[in-house]
Amino acid sequence: MSFSLRVNGQDTDAEPRPGQCLRTYLRERGWFGVKKGCDAGDCGACTVQVDGAPVHSCLYPAARADGRAVTTVEGLARGGELHPMQQRFLDAQGFQCGFCTAGFLMTTTALDEEQLDDLPRALKGNLCRCTGYRAIEDAIRGVKHTEEPDAGQAVGRSPGAPAGPQVVTGTARYTFDVDVPGLLHMKLLRSPHPHARIVAIDTSAALRVPGVHAVFTHHDAPERLYSSARHEHPTEDPDDTRVLDDVVRFVGQRVAAVVADSEGAAEEGCRRIVVGYELLPYVIDPELAMQDGAPVIHPKGPESRIFRPENNVCGEVHGEMGSVEQGFAEAAEVYEETFRTQRVQHASLETHGCLVSFEENEETGEERIVVRSSTQVPFLTRRALCALYDLPMDKVRVVAGRVGGGFGGKQEMLTEDIAVLAALRLHRPVKLEFTRAEQFYGATTRHPFTITVKVGAKADGTLTALQFRVVANTGAYGNHGPAVMFHSVGESMGVYRAPHKKVEAYSVYTNCVPAGAFRGYGLGQVTFAVESALDELARRLGIDPLVFREKNIIGPGEHMEGPGGEEEDLHIASYGLDQCLQVVRNALAEDRSAELAPEGWLVGQGFAMSAIATGPPGGHFADATVKLLEDGTYDIAVGTAEFGNGTTTVHKQITAGALGTTVDRIAIRQSDTDVVRHDTGAFGSAGTVVAGKAVMKAANALAEQILSFAAEYARTPRSQLRLTADSVECDGRLVSLKELFEAAAGRGVELFGEGHWGGSPRSVAFNSQWFRIAVDPDTGEIRILRSVHGADAGRVMNPLQCRGQVEGGVAQALGATLFERVLVDERGEVTTAAFRRYRLPAYADVPRTEVHFSETSDAIGPLGAKSMSESPFNPVAPAFANALRDATGIRFTEAPFLRDHVWQALARRRS
């Protein structure tokens, strides 16, 4: 049987395996532009064209491609000329992480006129988790947004992302887009039980499977306990996790790992492992888990830093400021309600995973291990691996390629630990790449919260007391559990002035898939509750909810106070909350969108606001260097990772501003433990305000050095010197940077600036969201008639990108507001482990959001900037709930607001 296939004009005759899909066939031949997003035909990241027709290559039997011509994104450009659609995606920046972009390009280049007129339908088979689709629509429509700012003028303008050309041509290298000779594949056997002790494990049949090299079980794993969560200070998380444990605590926990020549052999090995379990009692409800007599999930000692293991309390906080009892007694109106948020998945399109290999450490000449990982925290992962396996730091290098989305999910060590174990034992390169299903039951989720809010106010609307009781379900492991809980009750309470405040919060173990870091880090859940409750209280008092907020929010110069005490290093170093509320007021004043509502539908409007610290507490560190290169261009080295957040663009802009040059004269090396001393990582909204500040300091230091050297070299007073794009202007004469480099080198001087920032003090960023919606009372269908967002990001470094962050945050939050939910059954087993069961917002689901930035400039952030990455998510769900309350008269207390549930609530009220 002969097989032939033409891929991007190149013929191949390698026969595919019988059950192989076209996606893996193409990637095995180096066409890495073809991405794996879901492997189930839902997300479209793998779209290629077969004889000109777009297909999802993950579902296309490779054998069927015999005799056909396949075009991948790599084949779209012709003769060095980008396809017009590729250029449009660059001009509009129709991407963030870019993992979905190849699929969008291979789809949109095949659309006919009729389909271009109906994009919601034409794009229903392509998911983007980052952008919120506005940028993609603009790309398809040919709207150009990018700018090419002049030398020294980059800050505050909108140059495109440096990796854009690679993203649109399919040449950007994500985690798995490398060819490693001799690579072995790992697959994980996972627990079918919510709580069980492994009493026997027989791997002999698995080891007999041809191609299987090794099977790892708890017998092979270090005894050492750690947390998969990564923080600057590892003590923030309880040490409750083993690489492989002899007790499993949720359905889906890894039990064994099989390493083989192929994924197929590794899968077969997993199926042949025989495990004997002693079943243990389990609990999946956090309230029940806290009761006496509940199964104890982690019977561990104080060294694990679990607050009350005997009650499954992973962490807790109790505090009172003033006396809420007195506050409620003084109130004219008291409102109390319990709100619930669901389990949500990050759904970054690139799944978790890593490639572990070996190389020579050029500095020591010794062999070291290299972990190429889809991570937000390369440095903290190295630190954790060294601690786990007693390795010196120079024996481990961790690198992130371009990362296909994170959203907090990759502030975690979920694959590196076990892949490194195997690589060390076998001394062979090993790959572990999660499937989409594993993302749902083997990674982490947002913490489901139950929040009881009690709030009282005087008749004039002055708050008298605010009280929260919060129960966060951290699942089977405590990664991020206590920290999320602490954060959740911080700014959400601190942004309001009230004389009496009380908090009681618990992070509770259950036999469910672990929760972890997720955009907003607990704040979004509590913001949903408190913003809903304040809206309701204002209505009961007969006060406009906007006026009610304005009356009770903290002002500039005030401290965020809570019963946990104020955080010493938190300052409102710029105040745009009033402007965020004014955005809502303006929207209301001029709004005519109610006219768009279909006849008979209920119409309502509502808003919510939120505050967030511009970095995590306890320090967040970044080192950066900027140096002048031989050819007169610059090189930035910074540790933070790029996963579509756009920090790379901002770092270049800051550097270009400091050095008076243009962004195209700057290269950047990043997210590699080799390039700088340390970086805490790309989380806590730190990419611009922490890493960016370190870069700014390095760039300023370099500017200073260049000017000092030039003054001496050109014998010109410092005051007469000015940096330009590629030279130093010395009193009217240009000395090229190239010349300066040579001159400096000749004198043994390296022109090199270093910067460091410790992430403290921190400022506060603000957001507001307003919706007008229409509800069909007979079906529960909801249409968003208008969406307006106010964002106080300080001085906006890149308006195009920052707008994209806000739009993407709103879209992701709309998913969690409207329909996203990871469901578990009565044994805690995830039942929604695919995108067709777990609905992500598609093009048709996301309205355009008008984004208005406050005009502020922060005294702490670099060049006046504040963070704007997690926070746009937070006010969305309560704004929507408040609009729904306005439209229907019903207070919905449980997200998401699915049509069937909305209809049911309305029908129940009617009957």
């Binding site: 893996t24 035909g41 039997p61 069927r64 039951y441």
Partner: protein, 300 residues
């Protein structure tokens, strides 16, 4: 064409892998014949088979080269749809003038949760064999009085109405090794006026209720076919001109409470409500007129 458990029946942890079907050792051209073996599966478009782990499958019997004419109008004016006809072919097919039911084809194609790109691969027969309540090719062919032609490995043929072929959520009247060869839609049904209603929890999402009304061109009788809301297609028949009460009564009496589908794509109560609503909308669109006595037809 695949007699395998449906997506919804498979537990998420049923297997370790996805992407390639690594347990498959042979992809065999169905034209070569041979004995049906345990672990065999018919490969139609592959869009279901490749979307889920299938660790029990050893051979894919590929129907891709059968050369069956995708769509044939018979001398009697019936439409014979080959099981291997893709959704894209069905959508593009130029429907003869006189088929008043023509718009229904595109309406049902668009009712797929899957994108139009999947239409290039997914087959009509595959959608029937998945037997999902929300399978829009089931909705289409059940509503247009479709009859499946089934072929056993022995070559023996039998015919089953589509409405009887799907017997529950993911359950169908298909024996081991048997395949769907074609679905025939009679000329009389194709001449029907039709009305289409689809409801979903999401915009352009998976159907939570999909109802089709057909008005018989000869006797003006109305048939309402309920799918997606129910675990199997349920057809309600009315003499000409039923009133609102008659339709409501037929929905109430013709669909048992436990026949409303209960999964993540809609609460049974909401699906039931949508069924009443859509049935009445269809009645008004097609057959507002004098009172008629409802009768339930077929399906059981």
């Amino acid at each position: 064409m695949v007699c395998e458990p449906t997506r919804e029946e498979l537990a998420p942890l049923a297997s370790i892998g996805d992407m390639d079907l690594n347990t498959v050792t042979e992809i065999r051209d169905a034209r070569r014949g041979g004995t049906w073996q345990p672990g065999d599966a018919w490969l139609g478009g592959g869009t279901y088979l490749f979307s889920e782990p299938q660790p029990h499958i050893r051979r894919l019997i590929d129907l891709g080269r059968m050369g069956w004419e995708p769509l044939t109008v018979t001398p009697d004016g019936d439409l014979e749809i080959a099981a291997t006809c893709t959704v894209a072919q069905l959508s593009r097919f130029a429907k003869p003038a006189g088929w008043r039911a023509a718009p229904l084809f595109e309406q049902c194609c668009r009712a797929f949760l899957a994108s139009w790109k999947i239409w290039n691969m997914a087959t009509v027969g595959g959608n029937l064999c998945n037997g999902l309540p929300a399978g829009p090719m089931i909705s289409l062919t059940a509503a247009l009085d479709g009859v499946c032609l089934l072929r056993a490995p022995s070559g023996e043929l039998r015919r089953v109405r589509v409405a009887d072929f799907v017997t529950g959520a993911g359950a169908k009247d298909l024996r081991p090794g048997e395949l769907v060869r074609s679905i025939t839609l009679p000329a009389r049904a194709l001449a029907s006026r039709t009305a289409f209603r689809q409801g979903s929890l999401y915009g352009l999402g998976r159907s939570g209720a999909l109802l089709i009304g057909t008005l018989d061109p000869v006797d003006d009788s109305l048939t309402i076919t309920v799918t997606a809301a129910t675990v199997r297609p349920i057809r309600l028949w009315f003499p000409p001109g039923p009133n609102a009460a008659a339709v409501a009564e037929a929905v109430r009496d013709g669909i048992r409470p436990d026949e409303y589908f209960d999964d993540i794509h809609g609460l049974p109560a909401w699906r039931r409500h949508m069924t009443f609503r859509f049935a009445e909308e269809i009645r008004r669109e097609l057959a507002d007129g004098p009172v008629g006595e409802p009768t339930e037809e077929t399906g059981r």
